[in-house]
């Protein structure tokens, strides 16, 4: 993803804040949920490969990913309302 190098200080602060919030939301996940989410969303790894990495079934991986996304979303919403 290409970002504009002409990022003003306000955008930089917002971006830094967004990053901290997102990282904090990852902390509420279990190890397995976090691993599954990172492998799927950041590495863009198919669910089958994530299942092989975690030595579990594809259905379990889907469950981990879904739970992780829901938890992250709720965490972000809680932070937004504060």
């Amino acid at each position: 993803m290409l970002r504009s190098t002409a990022e003003n200080p306000e955008q930089a602060v917002l971006r830094s804040e967004q990053r901290r919030t997102l990282e904090a939301s990852l902390d509420v996940l279990t190890e397995r949920e976090r691993t599954a989410l990172l492998l799927r969303d950041v590495e863009d790894m198919p669910a089958e490969e994530v299942a092989a990495q975690l030595n579990c079934s594809k259905a379990t991986v889907r469950s981990h990913i879904a739970n992780a996304r829901v938890k992250v979303r709720r965490h972000l919403e809680r932070k937004r309302t504060l």
């Binding site: 990053r19 691993t35 950041v42 030595n55």
Partner: protein, 192 residues
């Protein structure tokens, strides 16, 4: 209107639902503003996560990182199993080995009992010797012993036996010679 489940919506944005469910969710989103907005939020979260990951140092070995995380998970699971309370299971004996062992014990006991009975019924060496015929020749005569009984010819000869013979068939023969008259007396005893 029944809305799409939150978890299914979270999976829909990355295409992690079945083809049939994907079509059904798409149909629902086309008619439901709130679910559509929710799906957009999940999609934005995924984009934000990717964006944050791009801010990580270049050359980060994700394979090593994921392997490390997986290893940590396994260590955690193993540690959990170690500290988990274990139920004390009493060893359960299967009926088959127990039945076989009981059968072997019964056979051994029966064999031992029969052996003891046979030994009790078996004649000893002395009894065998008693029952077997035995011929003894002496100066006083010839004696036959068999089956615990004895018979003999006392004073079988008038003099000393000059020749004595015995066979394994239970025959004893003694020849006596009278010194005065030179009369020869032959005494034979047969055992049957």
């Amino acid at each position: 209107m029944k809305h799409v489940a939150e978890t299914e919506l979270a999976l829909y944005t990355s295409g992690d639902v079945s083809l049939w469910r994907r079509a059904a969710v798409r149909l629902h989103l086309s008619a439901c503003d709130s679910c559509r907005a929710r799906a957009e939020e999940y999609r934005a979260d995924q984009q934000a996560l990717r964006s944050v990951a791009e801010d990580l140092p270049e050359g980060l070995d994700w394979d090593a990182l994921s392997s490390e995380m997986t290893a940590n998970i396994r260590v955690g699971l193993a540690a959990g199993e170690c500290v988990a309370p274990r139920s004390l299971k009493t060893p359960r004996l299967s009926w088959l080995p127990v039945a076989v062992a009981a059968g072997v014990v019964v056979l051994l006991a029966a064999g031992l009992s029969l052996n003891l009975q046979r030994r009790a019924q078996a004649p000893g060496l002395a009894a065998v010797e008693d029952r077997s015929p035995m011929v003894q020749v002496s100066e006083s005569g010839i004696e036959l012993r068999a089956n615990g009984n004895s018979m003999g010819v006392s004073g079988a000869g008038p003099g000393r036996p000059v020749a004595v013979s015995a066979s394994m068939q239970g025959t004893a023969r003694a020849r006596y010679v009278d010194d005065e008259t030179s009369q020869v007396t032959i005494t034979s005893v047969y055992s049957q």
